[in-house]
């Protein structure tokens, strides 16, 4: 039995506006059924953060769904307008709090584009290594949370977090913090690798395919997973492109658009890797795409660790104090684990940006949540939301 929350008595409103549910008369019906409007969230057992969905149900089937967010709107953009460019870097960690390295890289890349800075070779390789490690731990946690929302009560999540802890140990020995790494700078990385880091990373990467095999043995052929995800939340190609969906969701719908291959930012054109594409666009495809992407990331990591050159990790000409990029605007984007993470900066030549905007992949991917959930059961809504892979820090900024 999978139920999202315990039944709530009448006098306890869970949403911010109005009562927790209300009965709507279905127009034209002469029968007994009415539509039920339920506010799922902002506090609910599925572990996706403070996100609310106003769902209108006909029995158990979803008729309408309106997502409501803003419960974690932390004014990142406004704070960045009053702070220097470098002091916004720790705030970018907290956008998608699973993937702080890729957030940092997106911001550093945008500012480097604006100011025309060059990044040394070793720093580029380091960035790729850290980004792919981030992708590994993000995807494995996502699969863990998805399966937990289906009712697997924590066990796959324990496996996922076990691997994640190994990767977080690597991040901690490098940058000082497990999650909020604040590691990239404009023109390279903050500091060089400690001794023994490459060997430790090699051990993690070598063990990872065996862990993935074990994980897949539990999950990919699992009847419950297949029954609950195949055919659920089908996303068509046209809708995905028009709605601006990016990342694994887009590729599960069959569109071959991976920024690592399209934009070829950094040094991704030196690595051999494939881009997995889905056929049906349903939740099972999204799950499998992430597993396959993890395998590709392991391949990229092996190549990058093998080819890591010596040299500086920060461009000697980059100034960190009093950094004033030239006036103008720029839009820089990378393939974050959740999708296309973009930063739009307007600079007037001062130390603080005039306009600082984060293009959040999770928010744009939520545009089609209603389309995916219409016609499905209430229990499927949680599964579909889990496969969209949202992080509220990014949706609300």
């Amino acid at each position: 039995m999978i139920m999202e929350r315990d039944p709530v008595p009448v006098d306890l409103p869970m949403g911010s506006e109005g009562p927790g549910y209300e009965l709507l008369a279905k127009p034209g019906a002469d029968g007994e059924t009415d539509l039920l409007e339920v506010a799922m969230g902002p506090h609910h057992p599925s572990t996706h953060g403070v996100f609310r969905m106003d769902v209108v149900l006909d029995g158990e089937r979803v008729v309408k769904l309106k997502p409501v967010f803003g419960y974690l709107h932390r004014n990142h953009e406004k704070i960045a307008e009053g702070a220097t460019y470098l002091s916004s870097m720790p705030y970018t960690d907290r956008l998608d709090y699973f993937c702080s390295m890729t957030n940092n890289w997106a911001y550093a890349l945008t500012v480097e584009k604006l100011a025309g800075l060059r990044v040394p070779e070793r720093a580029e390789y380091l960035r790729v290594i850290l980004a792919e490690l981030t992708r590994l731990q993000n995807h494995v946690c996502l699969v863990g949370f998805l399966v937990q929302d289906m009712g697997a009560s924590g066990t796959p999540l324990m496996y996922a977090f076990r691997e994640r802890e190994k990767i977080l140990d690597l991040f901690e020995s490098l940058s000082g913090s497990r999650m909020m790494c604040n590691f990239m700078r404009f023109g390279g990385c903050r500091c060089d690798l400690p001794p023994g880091w490459v060997e430790a990373a090699q051990r993690v990467v070598d063990h990872y395919p065996r862990f993935l095999d074990e994980f897949e043995r539990f999950l990919s052929g699992n009847e419950i997973l297949m029954a609950r995800t195949q055919g659920v939340g089908r996303l068509t190609r046209e809708l995905a492109v028009s709605a601006g969906v990016t990342g694994p969701m887009l590729r599960a719908a069959g569109v071959n658009y991976d920024l690592r291959k399209v934009d070829r930012y950094g040094i991704y054109d030196r690595f051999q890797f494939r881009v997995p594409l889905g056929e049906h666009g349903d939740t099972y495809d999204r799950y499998m795409i992430r597993v396959l992407e993890m395998r590709e990331s392991v391949g990229i990591l092996r190549q990058a660790l093998r080819d890591l050159p010596e040299g500086p990790v920060l461009d000697p000409k980059s100034r960190l104090r009093g950094f004033k990029p030239p006036a103008g605007e720029v839009y820089g984007r990378i393939e974050a684990p959740k999708g296309e993470l973009g930063f739009y900066l307007i600079s007037e030549g001062g130390t603080m940006p005039y306009r600082y905007r984060v293009r959040p992949p999770s928010l744009i991917n939520l545009t089609i949540l209603e389309d995916l959930c219409r016609g499905h059961l209430v229990a499927d809504v949680v599964v579909i939301l889990g496969s969209v892979d949202i992080v509220l820090g990014e949706v609300d900024r």
């Binding site: 929350r5 306890l12 057992p45 974690l72 709107h73 990142h76 999540l157 977090f161 909020m180």
Partner: protein, 204 residues
């Protein structure tokens, strides 16, 4: 009133176990604190990591994280509380049954944290609900959360059953429902409400 330790150990050597009502009552309470599954932001991920296999919080008694506030004893406010979310947090706190405790985890829950200048950020959850343990950090390590949990257990162990310092659930005059803030046009109404509980002030 505590039993003298020397007397207690002498008696226990003879096979006689002595205790007081307060000790045994608080022993039962502190070793089975069930937190509510309430994560707001980044600190929530460290809270989840604390319950996972590496730093196992379940050995301290926090065996299950209940999603329903009616079944939980402890609310770990982990993450930034925004003004849009604040009424919901206070409502959830009101729905918990006494005895209930609050841990403010992370800099954001203590005072707004790095987002303190934000127009939508509530500068500390102790503006509306009483907080028992504050954990600094951004995010605090899982070991810090375990340390806070142990501090809470020590606090519960020290709570007397009678007298002026008795906990709220044994005090019929104690504060019951904490008032829920409303959404105003520019800010929450009221911006802070410390009538039920006041945080201790540090005078320099």
């Amino acid at each position: 009133m505590a039993i003298e330790e020397g007397l207690r150990s002498e008696l226990s050597k003879q096979g006689v176990l002595t205790t007081t009502l307060q000790e045994i009552y608080n022993w039962g309470r502190r070793n089975s604190v069930w937190p509510m599954q309430f994560g707001l932001a980044c600190c929530a991920i460290e809270m989840i990591a604390t319950t996972m296999a590496r730093h196992d919080l379940a050995r301290f008694g926090a065996e299950v994280f209940r999603p329903s506030p009616r079944q939980a004893d402890l609310i770990i406010v982990s993450g930034t509380v925004t003004k849009k979310m604040a009424p919901q947090v206070v409502r959830l706190y009101n729905q918990m049954a006494e005895p209930k405790y609050v841990i403010a985890m992370g800099a954001c829950a203590i005072s707004g944290g790095p987002f303190k200048q934000g127009y939508n950020v509530l500068k500390g959850i102790d503006r509306y609900i009483p907080v028992d343990v504050h954990i600094p950090g951004c995010p605090p390590r899982p070991e810090a959360l375990i340390h806070a949990f142990m501090l809470l257990q020590r606090k519960i162990a020290g709570q007397p059953l009678t007298g002026a310092n008795r906990p709220r659930h044994l005090d019929p005059e104690g504060a019951g429902e904490f008032p829920v803030p409303e959404f105003g046009e520019h800010d929450l109404v009221p911006p802070a409400n410390r009538t039920g509980w006041r945080p201790p002030v540090v005078v320099r």
